[in-house]
Amino acid sequence: MLEKELERAGIPTVQICTILPIAQTVGSNRIVKAVAIPHPIGDPNLPADKELALRESIVDKALEALHTTVETQLVIE
């Protein structure tokens, strides 16, 4: 709902979240898949360098979503 209100005001917003079906049903326009609920942008089970790479890839996907023209809904897994 937060994502939609921001988009409604004309601010492109990307939602990074784990449980995609919720964001999809609620109708968020730009969605990027996160790792897991307790650590959406991280993974303490990985060694530090791999975790950093993972985190950067999620942030990069988020920036890409902000830069993309969206018709109805964009989901990046």
Binding site: E7, P12, I16, G27, N29, R30, P38, P40, R55, L66
Partner: protein
């Protein structure tokens, strides 16, 4: 002192037999007579009900002056001490319908009396006012008067009797969209097993929960140049300052926080934590950057991959948050971001 239910009937210039479209600017007046369809209603309602007055107003006069005359109408209604208001029925008339809805809503709000009207499903008044009054489903023109009147009076009698709660399906009105918790004879478990037996046998069954569609919002245009963009961070992961000074709730958040991230290159665990009650916050409290990637974004600013970061982090708890609150928070945050010329937002959810 009669024991009859006192009824006010509201109609427009056409049904008051004054004239058609050319008389739509007829100003509001009150008659102590029963006029037009009022007679059919009086007959149908019977001796326990009395239409004590008829309120008349031209469609255009009402629509164009509603802010001024609704208070006048309310004051006038009070003088007649009514128990119930009947408006129309308006069938498919596009001004008459909303006008009937408006007067019914005012009757409920200011006099506490129920309003009953009738409209065709495409009448704009249905969506506008179905929550505020009982709108009986009618045909799309006055040809339907013969069926609208008995349906409306049956509902009025039911409401007056007060022993049974009106039911949109049984009584033929547009569901108000209000849902209430009620108790029935069987437990949820038994009802579920009854339903699965029916469904498996190919017998009819009726779901107790229907999902209306979420409102779809057109996506905002994209950021043109990320390298120049000012980004803001918002989260529903329940982030607060370490002491949770503003007492953000772990569930059913009633507020959102505006946390300063000025001068910070990273989310430090001794400055921030999560109070979200819906997941294990251990990983997040060790390194809040896994909830809000401030460390990466600050570095991207230095590396010129993004323009700048807004120095306030907006945070709430997305655990059992009421959809209404979520909408309100979103709208308020959006306003602040626009004021601060933010170009785009990264929202992190758990």
């Amino acid at each position: 002192m009669s024991n009859k239910y006192r009824v006010i009937h509201f109609i427009n210039q056409f049904f008051a037999q004054i004239g058609g479209e050319e008389k739509a600017d007829t100003p509001f007046f009150v008659s102590d007579h029963v006029i037009g369809p009022g007679m059919a209603f009086q007959n149908s309602l019977g001796a326990d009900f009395e239409i004590v007055s008829t309120f008349v107003c031209g469609d255009n006069y009402f629509s164009e002056n509603s802010e001024k005359i609704l208070p006048e109408i309310v004051e006038e209604m009070k003088k007649w001490n009514p128990d119930i208001l009947i408006a129309g029925p308006a069938f498919n008339a596009g001004r008459y319908g909303p006008n009937c809805g408006a007067i019914c809503k005012a009757a409920q709000e200011y006099l506490g009396i129920p309003g009953v009207t009738g409209m065709y499903e495409e009448n704009p008044g249905v969506e506008m006012y179905r929550k505020n009054c009982y709108i009986i489903k009618t045909k799309n023109s006055a040809v339907g008067m013969r069926t609208a009147v008995p349906a409306m009076t049956a509902l009025i009698k039911k409401i007056a009797a007060g022993s049974e709660e009106p039911d949109p399906e049984k009584d033929g009105y547009f569901a108000k969209g209000i849902k209430k918790n009620i108790f029935v004879n069987e437990t949820g478990a038994d009802r579920a097993i009854d339903m699965v037996i029916n469904k498996t046998a190919g017998q009819p069954y009726k779901t107790e929960m229907i999902m209306p569609a979420f409102e779809q919002i057109s996506p905002a245009p994209p950021v043109e140049d990320i390298k120049k963009a000012k980004l803001a961070l918002v989260t529903d992961a329940g982030i607060t300052d370490k002491m949770n000074t503003e007492r953000l709730e772990s569930a059913r958040a009633s507020k959102y926080l505006s946390l300063s991230i000025a001068g910070m290159d990273t989310m430090l665990p001794d400055k921030f934590c999560s109070v979200h009650g819906g997941f294990d916050t251990t990983a997040a409290n060790k390194n809040p950057n896994v909830l809000v990637p401030l460390d990466i974004l600050r570095r991207y600013v230095r590396e010129n991959k993004i323009g700048s970061l807004f120095n306030t982090l907006y945070s709430t708890t997305g655990n059992g948050t009421s959809l209404k609150n979520a909408q309100q928070f979103g709208a308020e945050i959006a306003e602040k971001l626009l004021e601060n010329k933010v170009d785009a937002v990264i929202l992190t959810s758990t």
